[in-house]
Symmetry: C2
Subunit: 208 residues, 2 copies
């Protein structure tokens, strides 16, 4: 399992400071939706310029205008872009095509995706499927959500989980075959961010 | 019926030029999702600073983090913010509350909203309901979409329609009781934008 650090609700400069402190323990940096909506593609460009060797996920949450948004965000330097699972299937097909053209990855965000909708998403074999507990629910119910999602995601290779992930839930994620654990405030708002990132990083592998 | 001009895929400076040319015929300026994702809240702030008297819709397409996004966009100067109908109901409830706190409007974007989901949105009596043909479908099927939507939106007061609206479809919208007709490229990409805006503006009222 790898660790993705989600950075939200800070300036680009603060984001750069957070990355400097935590980079040694983090595998993917997520430029959160709030940074994109606050600062636009500059958030992606500037962070990629400062950290060309770190893998960047830009949480652009595309739901329409897939071609324009995915090209823009890959051109700005993102390695992974996100599209809502609630988008039209034709839009997600465009994301899949553009991602392959750029030889980059994309994540389908399963927020508010029911089982019926999920069954029409299964065909996107190369996508990372993002199990996402809405921030508005404050992380309540994460374990149930993971277990339900794993049942319905049977056969899907690449799964990430976001929303309220703690050091304590990391072993459950690892045992469940999750590819990417996404952590935000538990690291970015910690007194000692470096130590917090290290604590999460240690939990990436299940201890025998 | 009133006319909303959607501005997309240009720089903020180009947007300002477009607004100068067309403002006399346009009731609401829409700062398109592409401007927000390209330039962030600066797009809203700068356009509102230049045109403090024009009503601004910021097409932020909130789908999570509703409180943060709606506050940010209203603070930046938007008069109307948008939320996806595919969001969690709890997120839309937050949008409704924040809109009322700011005494501003919000639009629920009905992209990929089916009848079952729509029935759970009807309770948002003060929202504008945005019938939206995905840009990825190039405006095909607008008339059917309008007629279907009007059937299923019975009882809803405030409806806007976007995606491929032409001068020729304006009378259908007006007759159907649509509050806001949203036009983009048909004005912004016209040889003579002022003339195009005038042509649409003339069609706001059904001729007897």
């Amino acid at each position: 399992m790898i660790l993705q650090l989600a950075i939200d609700r800070v300036t680009i400069e603060e984001a750069i400071d957070i990355i400097k402190e935590t980079r040694e323990y983090v595998d993917i940096i997520e430029i959160g939706t709030s940074l994109i909506k606050d600062y636009g593609m500059d958030s992606v460009r500037k962070i990629k310029e400062n950290f060309p060797d770190i893998r960047i996920l830009a949480d652009i949450k595309t739901i329409d205008e897939a071609e324009y948004e995915f090209r823009a965000v890959y051109e700005a330097g993102a390695d992974i872009a996100t599209v809502m699972g609630a988008s039209a299937i034709s839009s997600i097909e465009i994301c899949d095509r553009v991602a392959k053209e750029y030889k980059k990855d994309y994540m389908i965000d399963l927020l508010e995706v029911d089982d019926q909708r999920l069954s029409s998403l299964i065909k996107f074999k190369d996508a990372i499927f993002g199990v996402h507990l809405p921030a508005d629910k404050n992380g309540i119910g994460l374990e149930n959500l993971i277990q339900e999602s794993i049942l319905s995601l049977k056969g899907i290779e690449r799964i990430s989980v976001a929303g309220g992930v703690s050091v304590n839930t990391m072993p459950l994620l690892e045992k469940s075959g999750i590819e990417i654990a996404i952590v935000g405030g538990a690291i970015t708002k910690a007194q000692d961010r470096k130590l917090a990132a290290k604590d999460f990083s240690r939990m990436k592998e299940v201890r025998k």
